[in-house]
Structure formats: structure tokens, C-alpha cells
Amino acid sequence: MSMSKIIRTTADVMFMFIMVFGFYIVLHGHLTPGGGFQGGAVIATAFILLIVAHHMDDFLGWFKKDSFQTCEMSGLVLFIGTALAAISLGYLFFMNFLSGKGGLFGQFVPFGINQGFMSTAGTIPIMNIAVGIEVLGGLTIIILYMTSGIQSPEEGK
């Protein structure tokens, strides 16, 4: 069920732009509206665009299904890992141990209107990235299972 040549080429071209835009949303989650889930959903639409444009088997040729599973799993483990890291550092669960410490994402944010500093808000950007990776893997797997479900109606007869 692959589309015509035009659609396939535009899909290939668009794929990269959507990916970049998705990661932009994920990374700027703590500054502009967006964050892990929305950014991950945008990136997942890039993959779904490929699934729709190309034949299922070519798509599975490029990306294997369990690579998305490892994506999903690593995102989840990163999320719970940063939360547990707070306990190992002596604070309580989910404590934002990076904010205000000057290191990565640690700068202070002046209260009120500011033009948006990237490396602020402590562990929240890390959590955004983790959720972004996880949703990227998760939504693509859902679509993969659903499309493979349609592919084989004859097996259900």
C-alpha cells in the first residue's frame, strides 16, 4: 500500500524537518509550550508519515520494531533514573537536584518576564527528553501494531 512516487519523495524530505521540529519542542519544553509528550508525538508523526507513504516492509527494513521498543524502554528508565537519582543524592523522590546549582541546566531564572534561558530548570529538561524518547517509541509501536493488524484480515477469517 505504498503511495505514488511524489508522495514518497516529499515524505522522505519532510521526515527530517518534522524530526528537527519535534526535538525543538522537546528541548524547549520548560520555556515554550511543549515538552516531552507533545514533542514526542510530533516526532512519532514523522515516522507515521513514512509508514503511510512507503510499503510496510520497506519501513520495517529501515527501522526494526524492537529498536522502537528499546527507545521506549530507555526513555522510561531515564525518567525513573533521574527521579531515583534524587534519593541517592540524599534528597527525597523526584527532587530537582540540578536547579540553582550552576551546572547543567542549573542557572537561576529571574522572576517575571525574561527572554528564556536554555540551561535552567534543573532536571525538568532531562525529564522532557526522557518522555520525548519514550513517547516517540511508544506511539510508533502503537501505529505499527495497528497497521500490521489491518494488513492480515484474511488470517482472521
Binding site: 528499546t70 525513573i80 540524599g90 527525597l92 523522590f93 523526584f94 527532587m95
Partner: protein, 523 residues
Amino acid sequence: MDIILDNLPGLLIAIPLLGAFLTPLVSRAGDAARNIWVLLTVALTSLCGLLIASRVLETGTIVYTFGVQHLSEIIPPDSGGIPIRIIFTIDPLSAFMLIIASIVSFCIILYSLSSMEKLSGKDGFFTLLLLLIAGVYGMIATGDLFNFFVFLEISSLAGAALVAYRIDKGVAAEAGLKYAALSTLGGLLFLVAIGFLYVQYNSLNMAVIASRMNLTGLDIIAFVLFFTALAMKCGAVPMHFWTPDSYAMAPSAVTAFLVVSSQASLYALFRVCFTLYGGQINPLTVGWVMIILGVLSMFIGVTMAIPQKDVKRLMAYHAVSQTGYMLLGVGVGLAALSSTCMFNSVGMTALKGGLFHIMNHALYKGLLFLTAGVIMYRCGTRNLNQLGGLGHNMKWTMVFFMIGALAIAGIPPFNGFASKLLIYESTFLFNPLLAVIAMVVSILTLASFVKVFHSMFMGPKLPEYEDVKEAPAPMLIAMAILAILVILFGIFPQTVIDTLVAPAATALIDYHGYAAAVLGAQS
């Protein structure tokens, strides 16, 4: 070491989630590695649950705020005096439920390690099961309304996916669809009720809402939405239709834990009625609504169970009727709150009976579902008409089934009797008709389990089950743990009541204590 002890409530949720997320990775190293990993995760979580419960029973309510520096800063200075973070408030009632969840979760994981041996899709199964366990722990331990909604959805989704895991000819998918659809609708109405409360009291924390609550029309509507959403989730009769369908089609280990997850919604129902709307609602009307739901559940549950042919569907109807007992017990306790003199004589005993029955029911119902699972695992069918004469070579399963059946029917030396006795004696003084109905339902429960016992275990050895073997060892150990607890709680009910049930009942009553624990001196 005390870092771990202080952070126990956080670890209670983190360990099963971490275990669930890493199971697919560990299962690439082979089945044995995954089994050990899952068992280790669940054993650690149960240990956390039991440790928290023992600390709470010693030192009173534990309040654990997520994302603060030190344990003592429940309301950190930068939050302007209002608890804005997710706060886990574990008072003796939640500790009581934590003990149930940790015992049953350990047993069902032990059981499902061997029951899933020959089947496929194991890492998906264990990930969902650990998510369900984390969801139930979260529902029990959280003190934040929206956080409760999130954990309610996690356990509903994981439960529905597990119910539909063995798609045998699509029927399990139908059961999973019913469970998921009803839970989603219940969750959405629950969210509307949270919206009502949030807009009036500017906080999602139960203790803050309880301390600021003065009953307005909107609060009554919110209360009704809370009440019916949670009553539907724990299977009170007019809304119980999903319970027999999904319990019958789920794998038996999952059913045993779905019982605990519906009891977590029952706990939430009591939390809403007693703590969130502490002195606000009229205890008589709400108590009588709970009693009517309980009596309906008891009677219709058991009368629908007797003509059933599928053993797990029969046991699911009994789960509905036993939930009716708990609703009756606590309903009488709530209704008796209206007059202090009646409460001191009747209410406290009814409340203790109702809460003790939650513990007993989780144990013997888990045991019964596991025995039904062994029959399904060995004979491949759940239809009672095709079974017979299994007692000859499945000795241990027969003994465990007997213990479970006698306990559910309330026969003296077992734990069912102790809690039913408390419920009978207190409801009789409150309203004799209720106690009479409760006793008749108990007799009918015994009748239906004698029928199941006869058709499964008694009778000559049937040719097709000539060589059926006993259950494998992990299954027997899991059932043995539950059976020993059923007998122990039956022989020494008073010690269990004094240590576990009485503090839970008193904690349920004094909502001021709950609010004071979270808000500190301020409330």
C-alpha cells in the same frame, strides 16, 4: 540505611515501575533471568509495603512529599504555606491496605511465574502486572486527589490489557473492552468531580480540601460523582456487570490481583466518605445508601452465582457478594456516626468488621482464584460440567480449595467467620433485617461452594483426567502462603484486630487527625 527507610513511600512506587520498565531488557537474557528479576522486584516492593505499614502502626501517619529536600519539609517555605506538591499520606488505614496489597502481590507473582511457563508473550505480561501493582500501591498510598485519578487510570488500563491478554476466540477482548470502557467513563466523571473541588478550594490535596470544606451544592454533586465512580470500580451491584465478565476471562493470577485493585477503589470510597467529606455530609443518608448497595450486592451476587457453570464466573459473583459485606459493615459504621451513643455501641464494631472483611476477603478470594487457575492450568477447562474426580491426584489443591471455600462461607475456625461475626452482631443491633439477609447470603455462599467442590474434586476418577498431575511447586507455595494466613487470621482474630484493624478504624473516623498530619500545626 535510614535514607532508604525515610524514602520508603517513594521507593514503593519507584521499584515496581523500574522493574516493569526493565523487564523487556532483562528478558532478552532468557526466561530464568526475567523470572528472578520480576520476583526480586515484587519481593522488594512487598518488603517496602510491610516496612511502611509497621512504621505507620508505630509512629502514626507518615507524610512523604515528593521533590523536597528533607522529610520534615512537608510544606517547604517556597510553596507559600499550601501543600502544592504530590504528598503521600499513609495513615493506619492505608497501612492496613498496603499489607493486603503486598501479601497478595507477592503470591500472585510467585504463582504466575510457573503458570506462564509454557505460554508466549511473557515479558509483556509481567510488565503490565508490575504496572498494575504499582498502580494499586499508588492508589492506596497517595494523599492527592489528581494523583489518585492518575493511579486509578494506570491500574484500570493495565488491568484491562491483562484481562484481554489471552485472546481465546475474542471473548477475553470483549471482557477487556467492557472493563476499560467503564473504567474510562468512571475516571472521566471522577475528573469532573476533582475539577469542582479544585476550583472551590484551590488545592488537590485531600487534607487541605477536607480542612477547607464547607458543603455547597457543587460539593454534593462532586460527592455523588466520586461515590458512584468508585462504587462502580469496586463492583457494587447495579454497576457490577463488568466484574463477572472480566474476572472470568482474565488469567487467574491477574484476577486475584484485580480483586485487590477493586478493594483499593473501595478504600478510596471510604476515604472520600469519611475523610474528604468528614463532618460535612449527613452520615445517615450516605450510610443508608452504602447499606442498600451492600445488601443488593450481597443478595444478587450470591443468587446469580449458584446457577453458574463457569467456575471463575461463579467465584467472580462471590467477589461481588463479599464486597457487599464490606459495604454493609462500613455502611452501618457510617450510618451509626449520626448519633454518638449508637456509634460507640454498634458503629465501631461494624467498622472493624467491615475493614477486617476486606483483609480476609483478599486472602481467601485470592486463594480460591489461584486454585481455579490450577484446575485451568492442568485440565484446560473452567466448565464445571466437564470436571470431576480431581481430588484423587490433586490432593494439595483440594485442601487449599477446601480452606478457601470454608473461609468464604464463614465457617468457624477460618478468618471469614471472625469478620462476619463482627458484621452480624453489629448490624443486628442496628437493623435486624440486614443481619438476617447477611446470614442467608452466607448460607447460599456455602451452598454454591459445596456444589463447586463436589463437581470438581469429588466423584470417581474420570478417564480424561486419569493422569492429571498436582500443581507445580511455585503455585503450591503461593497458595500455601495464602492458606496459612487464612488459618492464622481465623485462629487469632483478636490480635489481628488489635494491631491492624482497630487503628485503621480509628484513623478512618478522625478526619481532623488526617488533616493535622499533613497541614501540621496550621490546620
